[in-house]
């Protein structure tokens, strides 16, 4: 059959679409725009974003415009908007704005500069941690939802166990037994690959048959891991891990990310399970499109809406977690300022210098609230089932 040779018979007029042309984005904005709180959340979010970026440039470098770690012992605990005492300060200690916008702390450091620096820390912690958790969540959820019905065989478990324990032993400097385990694993994989063709036709001997029995389905395995992870109160899990690891901002991001992917996994899995049964996915399979393209081109765009929403709200909770960790002294090590450790430093002077508590506290509140409002607005605008309610 050749399409080029056939002529088109036009005994009917060509059909035009009915609805006026409107992209999904326009439709989304229309719905989103009706939600005032969400718009406010978005605006605050943008403001926060700009502050954080500005904060990075203004407070870093060898001669920053706002120096968050400059100590002026003569000027400690000055309230917001107070003028510096120029007689006591050296020229390089004079604050950039010529007054202390948010006061100074117990070491005479400019709180405004410290808040700016903290904004960048909060932003990166929020985004990187959520980025990690979303990536893991999409990956795990996608596998559970799309390949969930496949079974893991006992031999798979066995050689993963060898591999993991072997690597672990090598890393722990027990090189000899570690290498032995790794070799064993390698030998087993080679053996499996070599006998693959034969084993299909020939009947298995009993121990090989046992190795090939289905142990657990991929879906069950992943979802039970999720359940187990959810059993731990995550803040204390993070606290434990952070107490073991050296304190650094990167460790905190990674740990927050690694302990918060479960929600995304559940969302993505649920979406994939229902998408997999949809006709357009069946049509894509019937066309002969590969699994990879079906997952990423056809299913993922339909599954990202809830992920986006949970990610936005996840950023808020990551910022909160980081602040909590820093407050307890497990967070980003000094002299780096974060909102959490400004808050924690301020608690000793809550009656003498309440601004040290209230400024970071209220900022955290506003930012977290705006993220949550924005996230909920997103959910309402993206979820077609909620559309009718507006």
């Amino acid at each position: 059959m050749n399409l080029n040779e056939t002529t088109v018979t036009k005994d009917f007029h060509l059909e035009e679409p009915l609805a006026p042309k409107q992209t999904r984005l326009e439709e989304f904005w229309l719905l989103f725009g009706q939600n005032r709180l969400a718009i406010m959340g978005l605006l605050i979010f943008i403001l926060f974003f700009c502050c954080a970026i500005a904060g990075l440039f203004l407070t870093s470098g060898s001669k920053p415009i706002f120096d968050p770690s400059l100590i002026r012992l003569e000027e400690k605990l000055r309230p917001p908007f107070s003028k510096p005492n120029l007689d006591l300060l050296e020229p390089n200690q004079v604050p950039t704005l010529n007054f202390y916008l948010m006061g100074t702390d117990d070491l005479g450091r400019d709180v405004f500069a410290r808040m700016l620096q903290g904004a960048w820390v909060s932003l990166t912690v929020g985004f990187v941690a959520v980025g990690i958790s979303v990536l893991i969540g999409i990956f795990m959820g996608g596998i559970a939802g799309y390949f969930g019905q496949h079974y893991i065989k006992i031999d798979h478990i066995l050689w993963t166990l060898f591999l993991v324990s072997g690597t672990g032993l090598v890393l722990l400097d027990v090189t000899l037994s570690g290498a032995a385990l790794l070799l064993l694993c390698l030998a087993y994989i080679v053996y499996v690959v070599l006998t693959r063709h034969r084993s299909r036709k020939k009947a298995h001997s009993s121990w090989r048959a046992m190795l090939h029995t289905n142990a657990v389905s991929v879906d069950t395995l992943i979802m039970r891991i999720v359940d187990i992870m959810l059993c731990f109160p995550s803040f204390f899990l993070i606290l434990t891990v952070v107490a073991i690891l050296p304190a650094s901002i990167y460790n905190i991001m990674i740990v927050i990310g690694l302990t918060s992917w479960m929600g995304t996994t559940r969302f993505v899995r649920a979406e994939f399970l229902s998408l997999r049964e949809q006709d357009f996915v069946a049509a894509a399979k019937a066309l002969g499109i590969g699994n990879f393209r079906i997952i990423f081109r056809h299913m993922m765009p339909n599954a990202v809406a809830p992920v986006l929403v949970s990610a936005t709200i996840g950023i808020a909770s990551a910022i909160l977690t980081e602040a909590g960790l820093s407050f307890l002294g497990f967070g980003v090590p000094p002299p780096n300022a974060t909102w959490g450790n400004i808050l924690s430093g301020g608690k000793n002077f809550i009656f003498d210098a309440p601004w040290l508590t209230f400024i970071p506290g209220i900022t955290i509140l506003i930012v977290v609230l705006s993220f949550n409002l924005f996230g909920e607005g997103l959910r309402d605008a993206l979820n077609p089932k909620l559309r009718e309610r507006h």
């Binding site: 056939t6 088109v8 999904r24 006709d279 894509a284």
Partner: protein
Amino acid sequence: MNSKNRNNHIILCVKDLKKYFPIRRGFLQKISGWVKAVDGVSFEIERGKTMGLVGESGCGKTTVARLILKLLALDQGKIIYQGLDISGFSEKEMRPHRKEIQIVFQDPFGSLNPRMTVGQSVEEGLRILGIKSHTMRKARLEKLMEMVGMSPDSTDRYPHEFSGGQRQRIGIARALSVEPSFIICDEPISALDVSIQAQIINLLKDLQDQLGLSYLFISHDLNVVGYLCNTIAVMYMGQVMEYASAEEIFDNPHHPYTQSLLAAIPDSGPGKKLEPTLLKEDAFDSSAALQGCKYRSMCSIEAPRCRKEQVLFEKIGEGHFARCWKAMKK
């Protein structure tokens, strides 16, 4: 006609297809029974012809379609496409043959990806065909849209901007994009208005004439099937009850179920209506369904033999098969 010639002539042959779905119950998800969604389906489709598959809702028509497309693994039986036995093919082995068989779905709203423009959806197929150049794909795309009666500027619109009939046309364009020789139409018109149904039927007929396509046309409406199809298979509870040419089915039906379906067609007289209780017969009770005729609780001429013995799908005339003791005796 000698057998080799005849085989050449048959595009799809399905033999005794079976697919049971497990029913899982309880905490441990133990299998407590089986839904015999497809339990003995055999038919042949000639090249360039249309076969109708009729049966009530839930009798397993869509499952047959998914089995033929290899979207579901079959439990038993053979699918022979153009002389090639594809029933044992793995996903990998099947991929190069995928584009030969396409499907048009019942639900025009679920069959197009809501996040892709119509053009992108149809273009997926052109990619599979291996057309690398963007301009060539574009030209082909417009040609396809025109063939199904859509204006070429609708390609950058999203599915929600179209009506059901238009989406069905787009679904047909997508199926045609990989240049298949065989298309399964799974109730393509039952979700549409009567006026639009005729348009889609005519479009399918035109395309068949132009491109020499073969169709498996699934429907629950004997009227439409009679108009469009050369041969008809009547299905009941996962089994083909009768299979013959359209004229034979209409003029000389042997199986009591076919007879009752024909009697239920409104314009052929005030025949007896099928009761909705029809569906209630224990489709899930495997022990009862194990032996005897599945239609016996509805059958007016049931005999003791129908209860005890497995009824076989037997030839009762030239190209006419039925699954009924009485029909065989005739």
